[in-house]
Amino acid sequence: MERMIARFDEKAEIIEHCQAAEDIFVLKVAAPAVSASARPGQFCMVEVKAVGSSDPLLRRPFSIHAREDGGRLSFLYRRVGRGTDLLSRMRPGEMLNVLGPLGRGFRVRPDITPILAGGGMGMAPLLFLAEYCAGSMDTFTILGGRTASELTGLESFRRTGTRVLVATEDGSLGTRGMVTDVLDGLLKTLSESAGQCEIHTCGPWPMMRAVYEMASQSGIPCWVSLESRMACGTGLCLGCAVYGTEKILHVCREGPVFHGDSIRWRDGQ
């Protein structure tokens, strides 16, 4: 078993909670213990139910979006169902149970240029990663979405020092097209030094699959951050299984970040 960093179930106060776009929210909580041991790519299980209610029963997994001063953490999330809807109604001052940091995050190597590629909410874990890398190395971040308004928080990325490249399907910002279109261009530009790059990606399955395949063709290692339905997030229930090339993988414990080679991509999600 991999060595486990200590995890905490913290009663965290909501410090800020803003709506960044139609269905997109940024939640900032004070969770000093979780925050102190968090690493990029890790996630938390966040309680969304009201006190006294048992429904929805399960916590919801969210990537750690950023770590801020004073033991604070932020999450970037999209309202997609009843859990995120309930969460979006909570206000600063209310308390929230946050269990984390969970899972294995991105593995970065000091001598290698990281290319971060995020699609939609897949950008959530990448800000923390960009911050983490920015101090010591050059990084590129490609962010894609359907339209400009979805790409909130580009400024936060730029502030970390990473070079931000943008793709939107409707062309309302940056390149018209997909993350892979921008990545293709970038890899060509970097062709000389592509051997010195590594890709870290998070986003919808088809996008990650395309990024992984492009990376494979260029012989570049590619780390992918997967999702799956989770009950515990802590390795207890074995419910978060996805197919790996050789065996079943458990997203919450062995992931959420995996080497692209270990995933059985054809099974979809």
Binding site: L57, R229, G239
Partner: protein, 304 residues
Amino acid sequence: MNRNFPDLSVTIGSLSLKNPVVLASGTCGYGAELGDLLDFGCLGGIVVKGISLEPRAGNPPPRLVETPCGLLNAIGLENVGIDAFIRDKLPWLMGMDTAVIVNILGDEIGEYAEIARKLDDAKGVDAVEVNISCPNVKSGGAAFGTDPWAAADVTRAVKSATSLPVIVKLSPNVTDITAVAKSVAEAGADAVSLINTLLGMSIDIDTRRPSLGNVFGGLSGPAIRPVALRMVWQTVRAVDIPVVGIGGISDANDALEFLMAGACAVEIGTATLVRPGTAVGIVEGITAHMESRGVPAIKDLRID
């Protein structure tokens, strides 16, 4: 006896627990997964993930779906197998100051017996819990636990293979759970625990497919508590062996309902998945309840 210091200890046959709160199988891994989140020394015991003779890969994903106040799971009994369990997992558990109960399962009676034999030889196991909700492969695939005779056969086989206390874990998917309970009691079970999950399913109306890779799954969590409590109440009144209550217990009040119904101990399942420290909070809550009401011992909680 000092009314201010209630005695929480209980015995299940020859097994002594410091308190009646135990982690349920399949919701606490092999223990180590929880090590940093829970103080095992505060617990009565832990029932580890169900173990088979050979390792099992489990069911295809998706394996989980949330339902109203409940969880449907179709993990498919993924586990490392008895040998790897004894070699790799048991040593960690032996270091914890709590009772270690090993949940076992099989496709046929011989497998149950062989696992039990191996556990009998191993050090650090305090009791065996026999999961009879598994399909009886040799006779058509209905679960052992739905047939009083098959359940008794498994019980006898396990009892003769080990000198450890044997708790038989009953399936709720039956017309009369007391019939199965009586049958395994006669076959020598030291105790019964109940309930395992209720068989359920869910359909994803967008994909137009069952939500679980395995189509059917086991329903657990607060949703099933009233059914579990009813079955515990009935079983306590039908057999003379101890009854361990399981099903949707999420806080001390829930646990007290089962203890009042006459359960000698309780197991906490899904609630640990939602909040890892649940069981410890339940021990505290039961203690506080007994203190404030002057209840000297767990058995005194029972009502008629």
